[in-house]
C-alpha cells in the first residue's frame, strides 16, 4: 500500500539519488552525528512523511546543508531546530511540540490507557470473586429447583 504515496509525490519530482550525500558530510564526526540526529527529526516538506535525512529531494538537501551550516556556526541542537521552525513553521517537525494545538495529540494515548485501566479496575471490582460467590438467595434456590425439574433448559447460567 505504500506505493500510492510514492506514486503521488516522491517519484514524480525527482530521480531518487542518495539521501545524505558524501560531499555534504561534515569533517567533525561528532558534529556530523548531531546533524544526522537533528535531520531525522525534520520533515522534508515536499515529500510525504520523509525526514530530510531519508529524502533525496533537492529541498531536503538544502535543509541538510542548512542544518550543518548552523551547527558549524556553533548553534545548539535546540537553536537549529528553533531556527528551522521560525523559517518553515511547525510543519517541519516530525515530532510536534507539546502546545495547545497538540494537547489532544499527545494527551490522548495516555488518556486512553489510564481511562481504560480505571474502567477495568472498577469493572473487575464490580465482579464478585470468581471462586467463592455469595450464598444463594431464596429466589435463586427456587430457580434451581425449577431447573432441576426441567433438565432440557440449560442455556441460562
Amino acid at each position: 500500500m505504500r506505493w500510492l504515496c510514492l506514486v503521488a509525490v516522491l517519484f514524480t519530482l525527482v530521480a531518487p539519488a542518495l539521501a545524505v550525500e558524501p560531499d555534504e558530510m561534515l569533517k567533525d564526526p561528532k558534529l556530523e552525528a548531531r546533524a544526522r540526529d537533528i535531520s531525522r527529526e525534520l520533515r522534508c516538506m515536499v515529500c510525504q512523511n520523509q525526514s530530510i535525512d531519508d529524502s533525496a529531494a533537492p529541498l531536503a538537501r538544502d535543509l541538510r546543508l542548512l542544518v550543518r551550516q548552523r551547527l558549524e556556526a556553533g548553534d545548539t541542537d535546540r537553536q537549529v531546530i528553533d531556527f528551522l521552525v521560525a523559517r518553515y513553521g511547525e510543519f517541519v517537525l516530525l515530532k510536534p511540540r507539546f502546545e495547545p494545538q497538540t494537547f489532544l495529540l499527545w494527551g490522548l494515548p495516555p488518556a486512553v490507557l489510564v481511562c481504560g485501566a480505571i474502567g477495568l479496575f472498577f469493572w473487575l471490582r464490580k465482579q464478585p470473586p470468581a471462586d467463592a460467590g455469595s450464598p444463594l438467595t431464596e429466589v435463586e434456590k427456587a430457580r434451581i429447583a425449577t431447573l432441576v425439574e426441567s433438565p432440557t433448559d440449560r442455556t441460562a447460567h
Partner: protein, 659 residues
C-alpha cells in the same frame, strides 16, 4: 468486447448482491428456509461474476488493450508478463476490483464452508456481507470504472509506475486485501449477532477461524510491504510510520486484540460485548485504511477538496457502515448477557490486559495518523506527525505488553497464581538475563536500552518455549510421557506459542538492525575499496545494461570477507523512458540473518560514484518473525476443533441450534 463483458459481469454481481442484501433478512424474519438458502447460491454466483469481471480486466492488461483507459495509463506492451498482471491492481480502479473480488471470495467461502452455522445466523451474515459488497460495487461502477474505453485508442501505454514494477508488489496488495477484507466476516458476524440479539460461546468459535485467517494474511502482507519498502526505497529503513503503513497497522492491532478476546469468549463465555465491539472496530479500521489510501486525502487535504467525488463516496460508505455498526451496537449490546466471572489474576485477566494495551496502541496510531488531517481541516494549521512521535508513544505501550506475554498462556483460567507462573518462567527470566549480560559485554554500554530490548525478546521467545514444555510436562514427567502429551496438545496451543515466539524474533531483529547497524556514505572511484563490519567492497566499474522496458546502469562491486571473495553486488539505477523516471535498485547480500545493503547515488564526471552502504545485523529476523507469527496463525487454524466448527456436546442441545 472483453471489457464490456467484464463491466456487464460486475453489474450482474451488483444485482445479485442487492438480492442477497434483502432476501435472507426477510427469510430470517419469517423463518423461511428457501429465502435464507437463496443467499448461499447468490454468494457463490456473485463470486463467479466478480471473478469473470476480474479475469476480463486481467485479459485487457495481458493483451495490452490500450483502448481501455486504465490499461493505457498503467501498462506498456514491452512490460514483462508478471508486471502486466500486477498492473491490474497497481492502480486505483483495478485495486478496488481486487478488493471486491476478495470480498466475494470470503462471501462464497462462508456460504460453502459454513455448513454447521445456524441457518438464521448464516443468512444474516451473508446479507451483511452483501450490504458491504453492494456499496463497493456501486462505488466502482459510478466513480472508478476500470473498463472505461478511450474513443481514440493510443498505440502504446504509459507504463506502470516503475517503482511498482517489482515482484514484491505482485503479492503485497492481494495479501493485504485478504487481511483487510477478511475482517469483514468478523464484522458481518457481529452485526448479525446484534440483529439476532443472541450471542454465545459458539459464536466466537465460528468467528475465530475467519479472523485468524484474515490476521494471518494481514501479518504476512504488512511484513511483505515492509520488506518491499526496505529494498526499494533505498535508504534501508523497514518501517516509516507513514500514514499508508499505519492504515494497515491499525486493523492489525485491532484484529490481534479481537483474536485474543474471542478466545476468552469462546472458552469462558465472557467479554462478549467487548468482542463484538472489536469485531466492528477491526473492519471499521480496514475501511478507514481504504478511505485514507483511496480518497487522496493523505496527499493533501486540498487535493481531496478539489476532486472529492471518490473521497466523498468512500466517506459515505464509511459513515454508513461504521456509524451504522456502532449505532446498532449501542442499541443492542446492552441486551446481551455477560457471563463467565473471573479474578483479575487469571488467563482472562491477562487477555484483558493484552486488549487494553493493544487498543491503546491502536488509538495512538489512529490519533497520530488522523490528527494532522483533522487539525488542518479545522484550523488550517499544518503539523507533521512522524516516526519520532510514534517511537515515543507506541513503543512504551508494546514493552509492557510483551513483558506480560509469556505470563498469559501459563496462567490458569478463572483464577491464576502469578507467583507460581513467575516461578515456572524462571528459565525464561534466566535466558533474558543471560542475553542482556552477553549483549552488554559484546556491544558495550553505548545504548543502554537496546540490550534490555534484546533481553525482552529472549524472554518472550523462551517464554513461548516454556509454555509448550509446561503443557507437555517436559522435565516433570518421564520424557516419553511428555512426548506423548506434547503430541496430544491441541494445535492451537502450538499456534499460540509459535506466534508469540515470532513476535520475540521480530523484536530481536528490530533492536539489532536499528541499534548496531553501521553505515558508510562515500564516493568511490573504480578499484577503490570501502570496508564495513568486516566486509570489504571493491568498486569494479559501471556496467550499462538493457532491460525489457528500461535501461540501467549497474555498478559492480566485489565483496570480500577477510580477503576472500564471497560474491558480487550490483546495485543499479534504472531509467524508464516512457515515464522519464529513474529508480534506484539496491543490492542486497544476505549473510545468515544479517544483510549488506548497497544503494547508488549519482555518478560524478570523474568516474566516481556516490554509494550508501549499510550492514544490517539480524535484520532478516524482523520479517522472519512476522512469517513465524503467520505460521502460528496457520497452525492454530489447522486445529481440528476450529476446522470442524463447534463440537456438539450432547448435554447442551440448546447451544447448537438445528439447521
Amino acid at each position: 468486447m472483453i471489457p464490456e463483458l467484464g463491466h456487464y459481469a460486475l453489474v450482474l454481481a451488483l444485482g445479485l448482491a442487492l438480492i442477497q442484501s434483502v432476501a435472507p433478512v426477510v427469510g430470517a424474519r419469517r423463518n423461511d428456509a428457501t429465502l435464507m438458502q437463496l443467499a448461499n447460491s447468490t454468494a457463490v454466483v456473485q463470486f463467479i461474476f466478480v471473478a469473470i469481471s476480474f479475469a476480463a480486466l486481467t485479459a485487457c492488461y495481458v493483451r495490452s488493450d490500450f483502448s481501455v483507459a486504465t490499461v493505457y495509463e498503467n501498462s506498456h506492451s514491452m512490460m514483462p508478463l508478471i508486471y502486466k498482471f500486477t498492473s491490474v491492481w497497481g492502480n486505483h480502479e483495478g485495486s478496488m476490483l481486487l478488493w471486491v473480488l476478495i470480498l466475494a471470495v470470503f462471501g462464497a467461502a462462508v456460504a460453502a464452508f459454513g455448513v454447521n452455522l445456524p441457518a438464521t445466523l448464516k443468512a444474516l451474515v451473508l446479507a451483511v456481507q452483501s450490504w458491504i459488497a453492494s456499496a463497493f460495487y456501486l462505488f466502482i461502477l459510478f466513480t472508478s470504472n476500470p473498463f472505461l474505453r478511450l474513443a481514440n485508442p493510443p498505440f502504446e501505454g504509459r507504463d506502470l509506475n516503475p517503482i511498482l514494477q517489482d515482484p514484491g508488489l505482485a503479492i503485497h496488495p492481494p495479501l493485504l486485501y485478504l487481511g483487510y477484507v477478511g475482517f469483514s466476516i468478523a464484522f458481518s458476524f457481529a452485526i448479525a449477532a446484534l440483529i439476532e440479539g443472541r450471542i454465545d460461546a459458539a459464536w466466537a468459535r465460528w468467528v475465530r477461524p475467519w479472523t485468524l485467517a484474515a490476521w494471518m494474511f494481514l501479518t504476512a502482507g504488512i511484513a511483505m510491504g515492509s520488506y518491499w519498502a526496505y529494498y526499494t526505497l533505498g535508504w534501508g529503513g523497514f518501517w516509516f510510520w507513514d500514514p499508508v503503513e499505519n492504515a494497515s497497522l491499525m486493523p492489525w492491532l485491532a484484529g490481534t486484540a479481537l483474536l485474543h478476546s474471542a478466545v476468552v469468549m469462546e472458552k469462558r463465555n465472557a467479554l462478549k460485548i467487548w468482542t463484538i465491539l472489536l469485531a466492528i472496530l477491526a473492519f471499521s479500521l480496514s475501511l478507514i485504511g481504504t478511505f485514507l489510501v483511496r480518497s487522496g486525502v493523505l496527499t493533501s487535504v486540498h487535493a481531496f477538496a478539489t476532486d472529492p467525488t471518490r473521497g466523498v463516496f468512500i466517506l459515505a460508505i464509511l459513515l454508513l457502515f461504521i456509524g451504522g455498526g456502532l449505532t446498532l451496537f449501542a442499541w443492542r449490546a446492552p441486551m446481551l448477557k455477560q457471563g463467565g466471572l473471573f479474578a483479575p489474576i487469571s488467563r482472562e485477566g491477562a487477555l484483558v490486559l493484552n486488549n487494553l494495551f493493544l487498543t491503546t496502541a491502536c488509538a495512538t496510531v489512529f490519533v497520530g495518523t488522523l490528527y494532522p488531517l483533522a487539525l488542518e481541516a479545522l484550523t488550517g494549521a499544518k503539523i507533521s506527525v512522524g516516526g519520532p512521535f510514534f517511537n515515543l508513544t507506541f513503543v512504551p505501550l508494546f514493552v509492557p505488553l510483551m513483558f506480560a506475554m509469556p505470563f498469559g498462556p501459563l496462567l490458569a483460567w478463572k483464577r491464576g497464581d502469578i507467583l507460581g507462573v513467575a516461578q515456572r518462567l524462571t528459565l525464561a527470566f534466566a535466558a533474558a538475563v543471560v542475553a542482556i549480560c552477553v549483549t552488554f559485554a559484546a556491544m558495550g554500554v553505548k545504548s543502554a536500552l537496546a540490550p534490555l530490548g534484546v533481553g525482552l525478546a529472549f524472554f518472550v521467545m523462551a517464554g513461548a518455549v516454556v509454555d509448550i514444555c509446561e503443557r507437555s510436562g517436559l522435565f516433570r514427567v518421564p520424557f516419553k510421557a511428555a512426548l506423548r502429551r506434547g503430541f496430544g496438545l491441541p494445535r492451537s496451543a502450538f499456534g499460540t506459542a509459535t506466534a508469540h515466539f515470532g513476535l520475540g524474533v521480530t523484536l530481536l531483529g528490530i533492536v539489532f538492525a536499528t541499534t548496531w547497524g553501521s553505515e558508510r556514505i562515500v564516493s568511490l572511484k573504480p578499484a577503490q575499496t570501502v570496508s564495513i563490519s568486516g566486509y570489504d567492497l571493491t568498486f569494479d566499474g559501471l556496467v550499462p545494461r538493457d532491460g525489457p522496458n528500461f535501461r540501467e546502469l549497474a555498478a559492480k562491486f566485489t565483496v570480500r570477507e577477510g580477503g576472500v571473495p564471497i560474491g558480487i553486488m550490483q546495485p543499479s539505477k534504472r531509467s524508464f523512458p516512457t515515464r522519464s523516471m529513474t529508480t534506484t535498485e539496491a543490492a542486497l547480500m544476505t549473510r545468515g540473518p544479517s544483510q549488506l545493503y548497497l544503494s547508488l547515488g549519482d555518478a560524478e564526471g570523474d568516474g566516481s560514484i556516490a554509494i550508501r552502504l549499510y550492514y544490517k545485523p539480524l535484520v532478516m529476523l524482523t520479517w522472519l518473525g512476522a512469517v513465524i507469527m503467520a505460521l502460528g496463525g496457520a497452525l492454530s487454524l489447522s486445529d481440528r476443533r476450529l476446522r470442524v466448527g463447534a463440537p456438539k456436546p450432547a448435554a447442551k442441545p440448546a447451544m447448537q441450534p438445528a439447521e
